[in-house]
């Protein structure tokens, strides 16, 4: 005897893709942060911080500046130094963006494109932020606090939002979204 499928109200059916996105986003984010907090993740996190500091030093050198690297610390000849600790290297922001891109209904090709472009955009901005704080801190402690606590925080939030917005627009234009939304 065939069973009658339980009819799902149209309103609920329409909300399914949104609920699917929200749940998958939360899951991916928690999983990503969890992986970062595990010992191997912490090792990668620290190594990544040191890599960014070395990149920053190289960039400063290219522009004729001087800085010394001590582990994850960038030190000016005058003694002032900024440190890239956990949370300074933008990995948390990257995990957030990755979770959103992975959770959003799109083709894997577009997701790969979003992950690569998003990571690059966030890290370019983060290195710019780190270098600017390195110089601002040598100039003024008050400006350093403002730039660190307000300016760059806002810019990073805007940067991540704009990346996601542009990527979603790209997905939308490609037509993948409508298929996935079913």
């Amino acid at each position: 005897m065939p069973s009658n499928p339980v009819p799902v109200p149209t309103k609920w059916r329409r909300a399914l893709p949104q609920a699917h996105f929200a749940l998958l986003f939360a899951l991916c984010f928690i999983l990503g942060i969890g992986l970062v907090l595990l010992p191997p993740g912490q090792k990668i996190d620290q190594d990544f911080s040191r890599l960014l500091v070395r990149i920053s030093r190289t960039v400063i050198g290219i522009w004729g500046g001087a800085a010394a690297v001590e582990g994850a610390i960038l030190r000016a000849p005058g003694g002032f130094a900024v440190e890239m600790r956990d949370g300074c290297n933008g990995i948390n922001v990257m995990v957030l963006l990755w979770a959103a891109i992975l959770a959003f209904p799109a083709s894997w090709k577009l997701k790969a494109y979003g992950l690569a472009a998003g990571t690059l955009a966030i890290q370019l901005l983060n290195v710019a932020r780190f270098i600017s704080l390195f110089y601002i801190g040598q100039y003024s402690a008050a400006w350093f606090e403002f730039a660190h606590g307000y300016l760059w925080e806002t810019l990073l939030i805007l940067d991540t939002m704009v990346i996601f917005w542009l990527w979603v627009g790209r997905v939308s234009r490609s037509g993948a979204l409508r298929h996935a939304g079913n």
Binding site: R14, A15, P17, Q18, F21, A22, F25, F29, Q46, R50, E70, G71, A72, I73, L74, R75, G79, F80, A81, V82, E83, M84, R85, G87, C88, N89, G90, N92, V93, L96, L97, A100, A103, F104, P105, N126, R129, F130, L133, G137, F144, H148, G149, W152, E153, L156, I157, T160, M161, F164, W165, V168, S172, L177, R178, H179, G181, N182
Partner: protein, 390 residues
Amino acid sequence: MILSTTKEQIKTYSMFGLTRVVLGFMAVSVWTGVSLAGTISGNVADYNAADVRSASGVLTVPANVAVYTATSTITIGSSFIVTLPSGFTFGSAPSLTSSGTATFSLASGGTGSRSATFTVATANLTSGQTVNLQGFTVHGATALGTITPVANALPITLQAVGTDASPLSFPAFASAQGATAVFVGAIQFIDETPPSNATEFLASPDTLTAVISAIAISAQTTDPTVGSVPVLGSNGLVNSISNSDTATVTISGNFRGIARVFSSHVSDCSSSINNGSVSLGSAVIPNVPVNIEVFFCETGSGAILGSDPNGFSGVAVSHGTSTDFLSAPVNVEFPGIICYRGSVGGCDANFVPPPLAIPTPALSSWAMIGLAAIILLFGAWKLKATPATP
């Protein structure tokens, strides 16, 4: 008449004189503390406070916690009252013995009561003889679950009714931390010469990891303030702690440039027991084994290391997850020396490290939460706004 008057006067004067003598003696007795009552002494029962908690205040009290010495004859039939501290009750029937032939029978109180009344039997208790309180158990000694120094020990009282005007008190019940620790700091040099530039410890070759101290945590067997008083377990025997117990050790000092602290069974830090957490001013190492020597090691982050030329400023031991002890007073035999060293031997007091680096977090926690919410809402809105294909 005259004679009669004289006799009356003499009688009056004599009466007056006797009163003066009695009053004078009483005054001197009160002033000097001399009395005809007995004296009390004893041996402090000093318990491991953590063990008292584990045993819910049920303790075995060893014999001779209180000893009464008679200074006058106490006759057969006299009563003798033993009273425990407030909240304590006898868990077993107490008994008294004497150094003479006198015996004591329990007349009232005892098990379940705070006090016990005995009757002197067999023979009188004569001056100089002692009365010893034999071993017994107590219930309700939960007050000793909080550390009670010997100086503030809870009193037991003994009173020979009719002889002692008031109960004689002896501070008999104390409690201590339960464990003790010996700490020895290491001598380490931070190599200020290139290529280390004060980011590594001096060795051949220089190294990021170095041993900074050793500690031995063991059961407290004597009181930390009165060394002659033994520390007991709740069973009345010498205190002990299990080999499976662990402690949390906090070391205060300059941990600048240190990325990791850990405990190790070996002084070369080649293996690790447990990782700790480290901040600029302190290192906390949990799960430190007891009853064995343990070494503490630290690993630099590659940044400039901080020095402690006068040694670590403090060491504290707490019980961690163990319940066998509350904490451990630490005997710092040597606080250690960690100092900068140049091309010549000894500490270089002239080396001044550059200022500390300022951490630069990308986003605060609240900003992360806000950003996550915005992305979530935007994604959901976009999905809603885009019509699904039939």
